[in-house]
Subunit: 373 residues, 2 copies
DNA sequence: CTGAAAGCGCTTACAG
DNA sequence: CTGAAAGCGCTTACAG
């Protein structure tokens, strides 16, 4: 019944929440002093600060994010918009891993990730505008970079801290992290050339994505440099296109002896077409993928792929975005400085049986040591 | 230079943000009237309301989530804590799909999802406490339900709206959605019995998870009912345990003719062991999985599995949680009513070649029509 | 180093 | 139906 009993009554705020006013009262100082103390800012003596901190802990005080944000502090939230249906995201291994990597870094720094699924790029830009107007996020991460991406100028106008995942180039005055797809392409082409292949093919996915174009260019260039015959086929999204592309390649008068697919799903779909038409992998035709995953690892034969840890990619992106947010407004930031870009992670070639010239696959077996051909 | 030019000056708030004060001034009413109007609450005439709404749109006003939250409105955020390392999350297909499903529903309702990765269950409970104290989320979704899960009583104490993903049962006074694992188990056992199998085995994953126990029990019961010999092996997390379990099962004097694995990764690992030791799938031993994914679909032979759309599961969970949040505090809510549970989605048996008694696998081919054995 | 005040943008009683 | 005010919990100048 008595309301003065200390410890009975958690705090004076809404729903008995503990506020800095409670701490101030106990410590015999003003709320402003508490604010300075708990934020580690100068303005209070060490003795006072320590007393305040002790009381704050005793009372299990937690700062109110809303109040802080309203008073002008960062909201400790970063945003990511995905203009792809949930169905596509859910089946893509990259998404979950990338998000997990982002989360790991953000959680540790007490930031949270806000995600939103929208229908179109326009809706995505609109979401950025609204988030900015609402002060809902401190910054955003932009994925699925395309050529002449309309999101870039929109974000430049907004002056909302943003990190582009993709590149190099094509990210305007925004900072970016990327995986070097041209380099990855060369790793694959060089490996296949070393295995003795002279006629290579590339089956490409979504032609609008920037990295698809970069792979196209690098593929042509490297084949030319090494004096190889290289053909490209655009298959579009999904596995159906990859199946058709594989069939068409096989039907050529001089079919390629090695095929590089843009994704793991495409590689598997293509491989099945090859096997059904009687081609053995890798003896008749080698198969490689730009995307590594459990699918490529567990397929028989296991498929050579570019390993670029999506988790690590997420971690690097989160780390870089936090840097961008924290230095935002610090300098006038010349476009050149702002547009700084960093390689996120090195692509690595993971060689597996699907491209080994010396591989002999024992029937009904996978990992058994292979005798040299 | 003139500051009175309408349209030149976006708003009067911090960083020229448009606030309800700007709208009020233009409409010749008080901010309170604007608040009532934009929130569709009674207290303003229809004419006034319409005028206010028009101005709000013209000015492209966006409500401030922080201000709303501080004034007591919901924060429009739900939380999810994951006590698993990013590495594990990233490689699990279920995670990305479940999150995509959650997001889809939440985004549409203007809610956002806050995620946090922590190290332990204690840290998870601590996060719930802090989120509650901070008023950071309106509710939480609890995944990876275990037996005697300490999170349940902790959340009951907190009175933070929470939805348990898992069950039936074991979720205390909290509402829950679940997939009926006992039913899924019966689907698998019945199917294998129909295919003529009399000696079944089950290779189980993490023994602490509630659904593992439920599968164990249902497996034993159903085998007994049908007069089948059923053995269970606990393999633990990861693929290594599944490989060992498969090898041990094969080495038995009377080895099983059909094996059910708890996950897709385990099924694949087990299948490879079987094939390496010379067993043909499905002729010598049938293989099935509790978890469907691209792995089971693309494996040769494709593996029979329980399909339970993780995306749909996420959608159902989000929908139910929003209901819980919206009705929170409405009634005194008897424990019985609160603890209501709902089946999230029906498990479906997806029969594939790995369990078809009549399947004859053509060499080096997958989907070709099979002649009856 | 400390205190008193204003303000962030909204909502919610409480009078008229 | 409308207006004026207080308050949510914090931060940030601004005086002493």
């Amino acid at each position: 019944m008595t309301t003065s009993k200390q410890g009975r009554q958690p705090g004076s705020g809404r729903g008995q929440r503990v506020t800095i006013a409670d701490i101030a009262r106990r410590a015999g100082v003003t709320p402003a002093a508490v604010s300075l103390a708990v934020n580690g800012r100068p303005g209070v003596s060490d003795a006072t600060r320590e007393r305040i901190m002790t009381i704050a802990e005793e009372l299990r005080w937690e700062p109110s994010p809303s109040a802080r944000a309203l008073a002008g502090a960062p909201v400790l939230t970063v945003g990511m918009v995905l203009a792809r249906p949930a169905e596509v995201l859910g089946t893509e291994a990259f998404f979950g891993a990338f998000v997990a990597g982002l989360q790991e870094v953000l959680s540790r720094r007490d930031y949270s990730l806000q995600m939103k699924i929208v229908e179109s790029t326009d809706a995505e830009i609109d979401t950025f505008r609204r988030w900015f107007a609402q002060r809902r996020v401190d910054g955003v991460v932009v994925v699925d970079l395309r050529q002449d991406d309309p999101r870039i100028p929109a974000l430049e106008d907004l002056r909302l801290p943003a990190l582009v995942v993709g590149g190099p180039g094509h990210h305007g005055a925004l900072p970016a992290v990327y995986v070097d797809d041209a380099h990855a392409t060369r790793l694959l082409v060089d490996h296949l050339a070393e295995q003795g292949h002279r006629r290579l093919a590339r089956v490409a996915g979504d032609g609008e994505l920037l990295h698809t174009l970069q792979r196209d260019r690098a593929f042509e260039e490297r084949c030319a440099e090494l004096g190889l015959a290289g053909v490209s086929q655009v298959a579009g999204f999904g596995t159906r296109g990859a199946e058709i592309a594989a069939a068409e390649l096989l039907a050529r008068p001089e079919p390629p002896t090695a095929i590089i697919f843009d994704s793991d799903e495409m590689a598997l779909a293509g491989a099945h077409v090859l096997e059904q038409s009687g081609s053995r992998i890798p003896q008749d035709v080698a198969v490689a993928s730009f995307e590594d995953s459990a699918l490529t690892r567990t397929h028989r034969p296991p498929i050579t792929a570019i390993g670029r840890s999506a988790i690590e990619y997420g971690r690097v992106a989160a780390t870089r975005l936090l840097e961008v947010i924290e230095t935002a407004g610090t300098r006038p930031s010349t476009p050149e400085a702002a547009a700084e870009e960093a390689r996120a992670i090195e692509p690595v070639l993971v060689v597996r049986e699907s491209t080994r010239a010396d591989a002999v696959r024992p029937p009904a077996s996978g990992d058994a040591p292979a005798a040299a051909g």
